[in-house]
Protein backbone atom coordinates (compact mmCIF):
# COMPACT_ATOMS: atom_id res chain seq x y z
CA UNK A 1 0.00 0.00 0.00
CA UNK A 2 1.44 3.35 -0.99
CA UNK A 3 1.58 6.21 1.52
CA UNK A 4 -1.09 8.93 1.34
CA UNK A 5 0.10 12.05 -0.46
CA UNK A 6 -1.76 15.26 -1.42
CA UNK A 7 -1.18 14.48 -5.10
CA UNK A 8 -2.92 11.11 -4.79
CA UNK A 9 -6.22 12.72 -3.67
CA UNK A 10 -8.50 15.08 -5.55
CA UNK A 11 -9.13 17.35 -2.56
CA UNK A 12 -6.00 19.21 -1.52
CA UNK A 13 -5.05 21.76 1.06
CA UNK A 14 -4.30 25.22 -0.34
CA UNK A 15 -0.81 25.04 1.18
CA UNK A 16 0.06 21.43 0.29
CA UNK A 17 3.13 22.56 -1.65
CA UNK A 18 4.51 24.08 1.56
CA UNK A 19 4.18 20.69 3.25
CA UNK A 20 6.34 18.71 0.82
CA UNK A 21 8.04 15.77 2.52
CA UNK A 22 5.51 15.51 5.36
CA UNK A 23 3.65 12.33 6.22
CA UNK A 24 -0.08 12.47 5.58
CA UNK A 25 -3.29 10.69 6.39
CA UNK A 26 -6.58 10.73 4.55
CA UNK A 27 -9.19 12.97 6.20
CA UNK A 28 -12.52 13.39 4.41
CA UNK A 29 -10.93 12.80 1.02
CA UNK A 30 -7.97 15.14 1.57
CA UNK A 31 -4.43 14.70 2.85
CA UNK A 32 -3.78 16.11 6.31
CA UNK A 33 -0.15 16.46 7.40
CA UNK A 34 0.39 14.31 10.49
CA UNK A 35 4.10 15.01 10.81
CA UNK A 36 6.42 17.34 8.91
CA UNK A 37 9.78 16.33 7.49
CA UNK A 38 12.11 18.55 9.49
CA UNK A 39 10.32 19.55 12.65
CA UNK A 40 9.80 18.62 16.24
CA UNK A 41 6.25 17.35 15.69
CA UNK A 42 5.68 17.16 19.41
CA UNK A 43 3.38 18.76 21.92
CA UNK A 44 6.05 20.99 23.42
CA UNK A 45 6.53 22.65 20.01
CA UNK A 46 2.75 23.24 19.82
CA UNK A 47 2.82 24.76 23.30
CA UNK A 48 5.67 27.08 22.37
CA UNK A 49 4.83 28.32 18.85
CA UNK A 50 3.60 26.27 15.92
CA UNK A 51 1.64 26.47 12.68
CA UNK A 52 -0.70 23.66 11.64
CA UNK A 53 -2.63 23.36 8.40
CA UNK A 54 -6.24 22.24 8.99
CA UNK A 55 -7.55 23.17 5.53
CA UNK A 56 -8.76 19.68 4.64
CA UNK A 57 -10.76 19.31 7.87
CA UNK A 58 -14.50 19.64 7.01
CA UNK A 59 -16.28 22.93 7.66
CA UNK A 60 -19.50 24.50 6.44
CA UNK A 61 -21.47 27.70 6.80
CA UNK A 62 -25.04 29.00 6.67
CA UNK A 63 -26.47 32.45 6.23
CA UNK A 64 -30.01 33.75 6.47
CA UNK A 65 -32.84 34.55 8.86
CA UNK A 66 -33.40 30.87 9.71
CA UNK A 67 -29.72 29.84 9.85
CA UNK A 68 -29.62 29.99 13.68
CA UNK A 69 -32.74 27.83 13.93
CA UNK A 70 -31.21 25.34 11.47
CA UNK A 71 -28.12 24.88 13.67
CA UNK A 72 -30.20 24.84 16.84
CA UNK A 73 -32.35 22.03 15.43
CA UNK A 74 -29.15 20.04 14.91
CA UNK A 75 -28.40 20.46 18.62
CA UNK A 76 -25.50 22.88 18.17
CA UNK A 77 -24.79 25.64 20.72
CA UNK A 78 -25.50 29.06 19.19
CA UNK A 79 -23.21 31.90 20.36
CA UNK A 80 -25.26 34.74 21.85
CA UNK A 81 -23.66 37.57 19.90
CA UNK A 82 -21.83 38.07 16.59
CA UNK A 83 -18.06 37.56 16.71
CA UNK A 84 -18.32 34.86 19.35
CA UNK A 85 -17.59 31.14 19.04
CA UNK A 86 -18.88 28.18 21.02
CA UNK A 87 -17.53 24.65 21.26
CA UNK A 88 -19.69 21.52 20.98
CA UNK A 89 -19.25 18.46 23.18
CA UNK A 90 -17.33 16.67 20.43
CA UNK A 91 -15.04 19.63 19.72
CA UNK A 92 -16.60 21.37 16.71
CA UNK A 93 -16.49 25.17 16.69
CA UNK A 94 -19.66 27.15 15.96
CA UNK A 95 -18.72 30.63 14.75
CA UNK A 96 -21.23 33.46 14.69
CA UNK A 97 -19.85 35.93 12.16
CA UNK A 98 -22.87 38.25 12.06
CA UNK A 99 -26.50 38.20 13.23
CA UNK A 100 -27.39 35.84 10.40
CA UNK A 101 -24.15 34.04 9.46
CA UNK A 102 -22.72 30.92 11.07
CA UNK A 103 -19.79 28.62 10.29
CA UNK A 104 -19.22 25.17 11.72
CA UNK A 105 -15.59 24.00 11.87
CA UNK A 106 -15.02 20.26 12.23
CA UNK A 107 -13.14 18.67 15.12
CA UNK A 108 -9.67 17.19 14.70
CA UNK A 109 -10.53 14.32 17.05
CA UNK A 110 -13.28 12.85 14.84
CA UNK A 111 -11.99 14.11 11.44
CA UNK A 112 -14.93 16.47 11.07
CA UNK A 113 -17.72 13.86 11.33
CA UNK A 114 -20.02 16.42 12.99
CA UNK A 115 -19.89 18.66 9.93
CA UNK A 116 -20.82 15.77 7.65
CA UNK A 117 -23.77 15.00 9.93
CA UNK A 118 -25.00 18.61 9.66
CA UNK A 119 -24.59 18.58 5.89
CA UNK A 120 -26.87 15.52 5.72
CA UNK A 121 -29.74 17.56 7.16
CA UNK A 122 -31.96 19.35 4.69
CA UNK A 123 -31.91 23.15 4.64
CA UNK A 124 -34.93 25.06 6.01
CA UNK A 125 -37.55 25.83 3.36
CA UNK A 126 -36.74 29.55 3.23
CA UNK A 127 -34.19 32.18 4.23
CA UNK A 128 -31.19 29.91 4.74
CA UNK A 129 -28.45 29.06 2.30
CA UNK A 130 -25.11 27.28 2.43
CA UNK A 131 -21.71 28.94 2.36
CA UNK A 132 -18.92 26.94 0.80
CA UNK A 133 -16.19 27.99 3.20
CA UNK A 134 -14.53 24.60 2.77
CA UNK A 135 -13.49 25.64 -0.73
CA UNK A 136 -13.30 29.41 -0.35
CA UNK A 137 -11.19 29.56 2.80
CA UNK A 138 -7.99 28.01 4.10
CA UNK A 139 -7.81 27.08 7.77
CA UNK A 140 -4.46 27.70 9.45
CA UNK A 141 -4.07 27.05 13.18
CA UNK A 142 -1.48 29.06 15.08
CA UNK A 143 -0.76 27.54 18.49
CA UNK A 144 1.39 28.26 21.51
CA UNK A 145 2.19 30.72 24.25
CA UNK A 146 3.06 33.72 22.06
CA UNK A 147 -0.12 34.15 20.00
CA UNK A 148 -0.91 37.84 20.70
CA UNK A 149 2.76 38.86 20.39
CA UNK A 150 3.12 37.00 17.09
CA UNK A 151 0.01 38.50 15.53
CA UNK A 152 0.82 41.99 16.84
CA UNK A 153 3.53 42.04 14.18
CA UNK A 154 1.04 41.63 11.33
CA UNK A 155 -2.34 42.77 12.70
CA UNK A 156 -3.67 46.04 14.12
CA UNK A 157 -6.27 44.58 16.50
CA UNK A 158 -5.46 43.99 20.18
CA UNK A 159 -5.57 40.20 20.53
CA UNK A 160 -4.30 40.00 24.12
CA UNK A 161 -6.32 37.94 26.59
CA UNK A 162 -7.96 40.96 28.26
CA UNK A 163 -9.63 42.18 25.09
CA UNK A 164 -9.73 38.92 23.09
CA UNK A 165 -10.62 36.12 25.56
CA UNK A 166 -11.29 32.48 24.74
CA UNK A 167 -14.30 32.18 22.43
CA UNK A 168 -13.75 35.55 20.72
CA UNK A 169 -13.70 36.12 16.99
CA UNK A 170 -12.02 39.00 15.15
CA UNK A 171 -12.71 39.66 11.50
CA UNK A 172 -9.84 41.83 10.43
CA UNK A 173 -6.75 42.16 8.31
CA UNK A 174 -3.59 40.10 8.96
CA UNK A 175 -0.56 40.92 6.82
CA UNK A 176 -3.03 42.84 4.60
CA UNK A 177 -5.15 39.74 3.99
CA UNK A 178 -8.76 39.61 5.22
CA UNK A 179 -9.12 36.88 7.82
CA UNK A 180 -11.35 35.50 10.53
CA UNK A 181 -9.41 34.82 13.75
CA UNK A 182 -10.95 32.50 16.34
CA UNK A 183 -9.49 32.16 19.84
CA UNK A 184 -9.99 28.61 21.14
CA UNK A 185 -8.09 25.61 22.41
CA UNK A 186 -6.82 22.69 20.36
CA UNK A 187 -6.25 19.62 22.55
CA UNK A 188 -5.71 21.94 25.51
CA UNK A 189 -3.18 24.15 23.71
CA UNK A 190 -3.99 27.87 23.16
CA UNK A 191 -4.86 28.35 19.51
CA UNK A 192 -5.81 31.08 17.05
CA UNK A 193 -7.56 29.53 14.07
CA UNK A 194 -7.06 31.78 11.08
CA UNK A 195 -9.43 31.46 8.13
CA UNK A 196 -8.28 33.33 5.04
CA UNK A 197 -9.19 33.41 1.38
CA UNK A 198 -7.86 30.26 -0.28
CA UNK A 199 -5.98 32.26 -2.92
CA UNK A 200 -3.99 34.08 -0.21
CA UNK A 201 -3.17 30.95 1.80
CA UNK A 202 0.38 30.37 0.57
CA UNK A 203 1.29 34.02 1.13
CA UNK A 204 -0.23 34.08 4.62
CA UNK A 205 1.45 30.77 5.51
CA UNK A 206 4.88 32.25 4.74
CA UNK A 207 4.02 35.56 6.45
CA UNK A 208 2.95 33.82 9.66
CA UNK A 209 6.08 31.62 9.69
CA UNK A 210 8.16 34.76 9.28
CA UNK A 211 6.38 36.43 12.21
CA UNK A 212 6.75 33.27 14.35
CA UNK A 213 10.50 33.04 13.72
CA UNK A 214 11.59 35.05 16.74
CA UNK A 215 9.46 32.88 19.05
CA UNK A 216 10.99 29.63 17.74
CA UNK A 217 7.86 28.82 15.72
CA UNK A 218 7.78 25.81 13.41
CA UNK A 219 5.32 23.90 11.24
CA UNK A 220 3.83 20.84 12.96
CA UNK A 221 1.63 17.97 11.87
CA UNK A 222 -1.66 17.01 13.52
CA UNK A 223 -0.05 14.14 15.46
CA UNK A 224 1.63 16.72 17.70
CA UNK A 225 -1.81 17.41 19.19
CA UNK A 226 -3.39 13.96 19.25
Amino acid sequence: MSATSPESLSKRSFVYRQLAGASFRDIAGGAMATGVAEGNNNRSQAEQSALLDLSVLPRTGFRGLTAAAHLQAAGLPIPARPNQASVTGSGELVLRLSQKEFWLLGALSDSGAGVDALNQRGLPAADCYSLYCQDSHAWLALTGAHLPATLAKVCGVDLREASFPLGSIAQTSVARVNVVIVHHQLAGVPCFSILCDSAAAEYLWESLLDAMGEFGGEVIGSNALL
Binding site: P82, N83, G156, Q171, T172, S173, N178, V180
Partner: protein, 102 residues
Protein backbone atom coordinates in the same frame (compact mmCIF):
# COMPACT_ATOMS: atom_id res chain seq x y z
CA UNK B 1 -3.86 55.35 10.83
CA UNK B 2 -7.43 56.60 10.97
CA UNK B 3 -9.86 54.43 12.91
CA UNK B 4 -13.44 53.66 11.82
CA UNK B 5 -15.86 52.26 14.43
CA UNK B 6 -17.61 49.34 12.72
CA UNK B 7 -21.05 48.58 14.27
CA UNK B 8 -20.38 44.83 13.97
CA UNK B 9 -16.65 44.49 14.59
CA UNK B 10 -15.67 47.52 16.64
CA UNK B 11 -12.83 49.96 15.92
CA UNK B 12 -10.72 48.97 12.91
CA UNK B 13 -8.08 50.58 10.70
CA UNK B 14 -9.61 52.62 7.90
CA UNK B 15 -7.69 50.48 5.38
CA UNK B 16 -10.12 47.62 6.10
CA UNK B 17 -13.06 49.67 4.78
CA UNK B 18 -14.40 50.53 1.36
CA UNK B 19 -16.52 53.61 0.65
CA UNK B 20 -19.87 52.82 -0.94
CA UNK B 21 -21.37 56.20 -1.83
CA UNK B 22 -24.17 58.31 -0.41
CA UNK B 23 -27.29 56.84 1.16
CA UNK B 24 -30.30 58.23 -0.70
CA UNK B 25 -33.95 57.36 -1.24
CA UNK B 26 -34.63 55.28 -4.33
CA UNK B 27 -37.19 56.87 -6.63
CA UNK B 28 -39.95 54.58 -7.88
CA UNK B 29 -38.36 53.05 -11.00
CA UNK B 30 -41.75 52.61 -12.71
CA UNK B 31 -42.82 56.24 -12.42
CA UNK B 32 -39.67 58.38 -12.20
CA UNK B 33 -38.04 60.08 -15.17
CA UNK B 34 -34.78 58.90 -16.68
CA UNK B 35 -33.15 62.00 -15.26
CA UNK B 36 -34.32 61.18 -11.74
CA UNK B 37 -33.06 57.60 -12.10
CA UNK B 38 -29.68 58.79 -13.41
CA UNK B 39 -29.46 61.19 -10.46
CA UNK B 40 -30.03 58.25 -8.13
CA UNK B 41 -27.62 55.84 -9.79
CA UNK B 42 -24.75 57.98 -11.06
CA UNK B 43 -24.62 61.46 -9.50
CA UNK B 44 -23.53 62.47 -6.04
CA UNK B 45 -24.13 65.70 -4.17
CA UNK B 46 -20.55 66.14 -2.94
CA UNK B 47 -21.75 68.53 -0.30
CA UNK B 48 -19.47 70.08 2.31
CA UNK B 49 -20.81 69.07 5.70
CA UNK B 50 -22.30 66.03 7.33
CA UNK B 51 -23.18 63.29 4.85
CA UNK B 52 -24.71 59.84 5.28
CA UNK B 53 -22.75 57.18 3.42
CA UNK B 54 -22.53 53.44 2.80
CA UNK B 55 -19.33 51.78 4.01
CA UNK B 56 -18.18 48.18 3.71
CA UNK B 57 -16.00 46.39 6.25
CA UNK B 58 -14.20 44.24 3.69
CA UNK B 59 -12.84 41.66 6.14
CA UNK B 60 -16.35 40.62 7.19
CA UNK B 61 -18.32 41.64 4.09
CA UNK B 62 -20.52 43.82 6.28
CA UNK B 63 -22.25 46.92 4.89
CA UNK B 64 -23.24 49.69 7.29
CA UNK B 65 -24.06 53.39 7.33
CA UNK B 66 -21.77 56.16 8.57
CA UNK B 67 -22.42 59.83 9.18
CA UNK B 68 -19.26 61.73 8.30
CA UNK B 69 -18.27 65.39 8.07
CA UNK B 70 -16.67 65.84 4.65
CA UNK B 71 -14.69 68.92 5.69
CA UNK B 72 -13.13 67.67 8.92
CA UNK B 73 -13.39 63.98 7.92
CA UNK B 74 -14.73 63.30 11.40
CA UNK B 75 -16.87 60.16 11.72
CA UNK B 76 -19.90 61.18 13.78
CA UNK B 77 -21.88 57.96 13.97
CA UNK B 78 -21.97 54.48 12.42
CA UNK B 79 -24.94 52.13 12.56
CA UNK B 80 -26.51 49.01 11.07
CA UNK B 81 -28.56 49.63 7.90
CA UNK B 82 -31.58 47.94 9.52
CA UNK B 83 -32.19 51.27 11.31
CA UNK B 84 -33.27 52.69 7.94
CA UNK B 85 -33.95 49.68 5.72
CA UNK B 86 -36.30 47.51 7.72
CA UNK B 87 -38.45 46.02 4.98
CA UNK B 88 -37.77 44.25 1.73
CA UNK B 89 -38.08 46.29 -1.45
CA UNK B 90 -40.12 44.42 -4.04
CA UNK B 91 -39.86 45.26 -7.71
CA UNK B 92 -43.09 44.75 -9.64
CA UNK B 93 -43.38 42.79 -12.91
CA UNK B 94 -44.19 46.05 -14.63
CA UNK B 95 -40.61 47.19 -13.98
CA UNK B 96 -39.16 44.09 -15.58
CA UNK B 97 -41.45 44.38 -18.61
CA UNK B 98 -40.45 47.98 -19.17
CA UNK B 99 -36.73 47.16 -18.93
CA UNK B 100 -37.01 44.26 -21.36
CA UNK B 101 -39.08 46.28 -23.82
CA UNK B 102 -36.84 49.34 -23.67
Amino acid sequence: MKIMPCPLNGPRNISEFVHGGEVRDMPNPTTCTDREWAEYVFYSDNQAGIVTEWWLHAASGYWFIAERHTVTDEIIRTYDPSEIFNQRVEFSDETTAKEVGA
